[in-house]
Symmetry: none
Subunit: 257 residues, 2 copies
Amino acid sequence: MFAEERYVRIMEVVNQAGKATVAELSEALGVSQVTVRRDLEKLEEKELLLRTHGGAMALHAHVSEVAHEKSFSEKEEALVEEKERIAEAAAKLISDEDAVMLTPGTTNMLIAKRLIGKKGLKIVTNAANIAVQIGNYPELEIILIGGKLRRKSFALVGPLAEETLQNIRVDKLFLGVDGFDLKEGLTTPNLAEASMDRQMISIAKEVIVVADHTKFGKVFFSHVATLGVVHTVITDEGINRELAGQIRELGIRLIIV
Amino acid sequence: MFAEERYVRIMEVVNQAGKATVAELSEALGVSQVTVRRDLEKLEEKELLLRTHGGAMALHAHVSEVAHEKSFSEKEEALVEEKERIAEAAAKLISDEDAVMLTPGTTNMLIAKRLIGKKGLKIVTNAANIAVQIGNYPELEIILIGGKLRRKSFALVGPLAEETLQNIRVDKLFLGVDGFDLKEGLTTPNLAEASMDRQMISIAKEVIVVADHTKFGKVFFSHVATLGVVHTVITDEGINRELAGQIRELGIRLIIV
DNA sequence: TCGTATATGATCAAAATTGAAAGAAAACGA
DNA sequence: TCGTTTTCTTTCAATTTTGATCATATACGA
């Protein structure tokens, strides 16, 4: 038996019973007590349990949970503050009876979380992770567009997805883009996602682009749409003043937070 | 044998069994232990498995995965061991070029995790959480059926989902059911999910029911199908001997693990 | 054909794992 | 408080596993 297997078994016992003694674990795993103690030491280092005199105790869920969520992805993932503010502004645009659509992306994930509790709201998305994230909360009606799953972005794309979209109409589309350029319009790196985005734009009454300031002036491989389709843009204060003026001149409502 | 072929075989063994020793792999592949170690090193670099002293473990069987997950659900969710064994047996039935379909459910989630690394495999599912769980790993093609998201089970159901299914055909369906009764057939508590299940059965060449022993003799509100559609049943040793005989008499292949 | 690059295997010293033993620390009862 | 018992840590030795180095074989292109 690998040491790692013991770790797993120990965690199972400890989590299930809430605690375990060294003698019990030594017996259950068929290794010496010295080895059990060394295992417990390692598991405590990883903050998976708490050692005690004579054994170990389960760590309360929230301790490890809280520590984990923020420490890994979110620190690296920059612009969290900005995106949170964008999401807050976006959520304010949504009324209870709307049918809204969300494209994949971190900002839209933040928007989704802020919609929890809105009664009667319909949410349509092609981001599997967004659906799962808010799927446990009642009162929201969540429609997930099927299709081929793209890695990393968790976007559902392809003919299956586009076909499904044709039966749907929504009030507001929150469109996350990678590039927003006055001349080239909206762009994104992936062809399949661009095609999906276009479909989604075509079935939405109102198109709201959410993009932090770093997205402006950028152009990516796949063209999504011209700026003519955009009704509203929400971004953060980092946006260039001049550019902001030019966007407004195009008749687009620009919300800066 | 090419190195690439070895990688695939190693991933299969590791993911199906959850672990493998260097000696085992050396034996199975007919290469020296030195070569196996070099292979494992490469596979670990690609983050497809975790090396241990003496071999390697599947990502899904490791502490970092297991510890967090189990602490919450495990107390209520019994029969983990049994379900793991069922999942292992199920994974063995799947060959690389198959197109398989998975219904929502904990057992099917376990099966999905064991499929990581199978090259060219197509996985179709209407369980959003299963898709997200394995969505990050390369080499799998994952198709998620869209639809209305049901809370708790993360099943995607409804007309949208059923319509999508009509364009799809799969080799094997792994069907998780809540009730399996000789007289009443397959049943489940939710009407919408039962309807989805029926659709899925109709587009699958082979129907494989995965159910721990507690599911037998149970009958729920919504009828899914008669036992006539079932080709194979995988369950654990807890199943009643007499019942096992009766199932086999129906011409159903019964796998007990 | 030759030379080179790549993959694999063999060998062996270094590192990791484990358990036993002994001393140190902590818990506990009187 | 003291002494006893239990538990823990440290140290060491036996064993296993690993990684590095070298040798061999095979494939490939000039």
